[in-house]
Symmetry: D2
Subunit: 136 residues, 4 copies
């Protein structure tokens, strides 16, 4: 998959644009993203909502998985587990997603999310490779 | 925890209001929610983003856990696993979160998410009980 | 898959025979097993080892998945999550594994393990369907 | 926790002795173990049973967690997720368990299992810190 394709995984996903995630780097088997935190990202105690952290970890892992599959295929999340290590509060989130094990039908990934440099979540995902690219 | 407290878990969470989740029912050990789907909830293939489904499953499970803890305590998600059973596309999501095992320091929960009546996700969570309520 | 095939999943697995798990019932989409507890099944505090409970939950779920796939295929565990709800101590374990979502390449399952009637674990698994039956 | 305590986590667990796991090294926040494979460790296709790999990953992570807690406490597994990356076949398993995040009531860990040098499983666990050591 080309760099353009990785960008498309972000540009063409309305929910990702709504939340404000940005692609900041990618290569074979990895993607990095960030997010400037806004009040809309918080839960009822003033921490970043687990859903924001999880969406970032999942989407970044999915994008990382998309760097190791053949043209004409794309990635759907089948299953994941996430540990929320600490409540997150700060100015920005950063996430790195990596491929742990590539595969023809399943790609196993890991994402780590940091908030202002503090490790706040580890994600382990099973991504399904499906036929059909973003254009069909 | 009172019904008012369960409502507060929704009303005071900006991220939940941004996405549009509504509390539709609750009792001891369970909570139900729904979401009218909008274009902003989608990912790059036109399906509901896994982050939307996961946020719903997590928040509903957390609210269900909050119904079985003592006053002056609240819930933070420690860890969860989710299986995304099928791509979700439709008009509305519905979620039921239930307590599988209450506890003094950890509450284990399950959430199931349906899209227009089709089962799209099962979530299994470990929720941490922390001191301090929503006002303190 | 026939009843004979489900039995083979137990009879031909040396690790399952070593531990002593017994198939006690099965039908389309479900399998039940039990285990008479012995001192060898315990961990350092005198509870049943998490590995015994997990092996039972995984193997029973895998057998349940094998009831919903085509002839000439078999099941390998791709991923699972398990919540150990309480320390287990008693005379016997019982497990029921069920298919949550069948599929051509992935089958999602759940297992629940009870010890002397007390719910001790819930398991959520993603099982891969692979070509080749038990005879090749 | 002392090195003697880490040894006790292995020596006093009958299920671990039955399977043959050996402690091969430990330090603050990590433990390494190995297992010489025997026919009894296999499943119905001749691969190492997922239950063997999972028991190793769980027990090694639990032992790693026990290196970062106070005297008079011990570790029980609350929840974990594991990805089985490839079918495992070979002469020996090796496992390294590490603490991802220490804590007063929960310790998050990761274990990686290799079979003859090939990465076969990644485990992510949530371990509960309980009062009472191995001698009560």
């Amino acid at each position: 998959m080309t760099d353009t394709d990785v960008s498309a995984v972000f540009d063409r996903a309305p929910f990702i644009r709504l939340l404000g995630f940005r692609l900041v780097g990618s290569g074979p088997g990895w993607v990095e993203t960030d997010l400037m935190l806004e009040p809309d990202h918080l839960q009822q105690h003033g921490y970043v909502h687990a859903g924001v952290i999880t969406t970032m970890a999942d989407h970044t892992s999915g994008a990382a998985a998309s760097t190791v599959i053949d043209e004409g295929h794309s990635i759907l999340t089948a299953q994941f587990a996430i540990s929320l290590l600490r409540p997150a509060r700060g100015a920005a989130l950063h996430c790195r997603g990596e491929v742990v094990k590539p595969g023809r039908s399943l790609v196993v990934t890991q994402s780590d999310v940091h908030c202002d440099g503090v490790h706040v979540a580890r994600f382990q995902g099973t991504m399904a490779v499906v036929e059909g690219g973003l254009d069909g």
